[in-house]
Amino acid sequence: MDIGRERLELLKEIMAIDFSLVELNLYLDTHPLDQRAQRLQNEYVTICKDLKEKYEEDYAPLTHVYASECPWGWIEEPWPWEINYEMGGI
């Protein structure tokens, strides 16, 4: 399923920043005293929150914790395995 250029670009940006946060999370688990990493993590958290807020406002919820209108938006398609990520194929 195609989701439109702008929505896809924003989703990919969110994937990217979320991935950096996962990497930093794992790094900090074994380096809990690393202040530089913590500062970077905190920076990214702010960016990530903003991007996700924009996505949820403009397009669709990312978690079930969101204020919906009727009908319940969480069930909306496409679900992640249905999206065409347009990386050169299907």
């Binding site: 940006e13 990217a16 920043i17 991935f19 950096s20 990497e23 790094y27 074994t30 690393d34």
Partner: protein, 74 residues
């Protein structure tokens, strides 16, 4: 009575365990019958999209795989 380490050969920082392999000797703080992975020291990171495409944000952990041809094809 001597304390500390007594060597009955010339101490070298690596040992020749086979014709081709030199294995560095790890200091006394490393114990036998234990495995040690070096600890990563955070230097710099890839920016988020590059990190996502590479599979890690840490350049020192980036180990790309080069597809090997089956020997018969060469």
């Amino acid at each position: 009575m001597t304390k500390g380490y007594v060597y009955d050969y010339d101490y070298r920082p690596e040992m020749l365990v086979a014709p081709h392999y030199k294995i560095p000797v790890m200091g006394p703080e490393f114990k036998l019958a234990k495995a040690y992975v070096p600890y990563q020291v955070f230097q710099k990171v890839y920016e988020p999209m590059k990190g996502l495409m590479k599979g890690t944000i840490f350049p020192e952990l980036c180990r790309p795989y080069v597809k090997t041809k089956h020997r018969m094809e060469e």
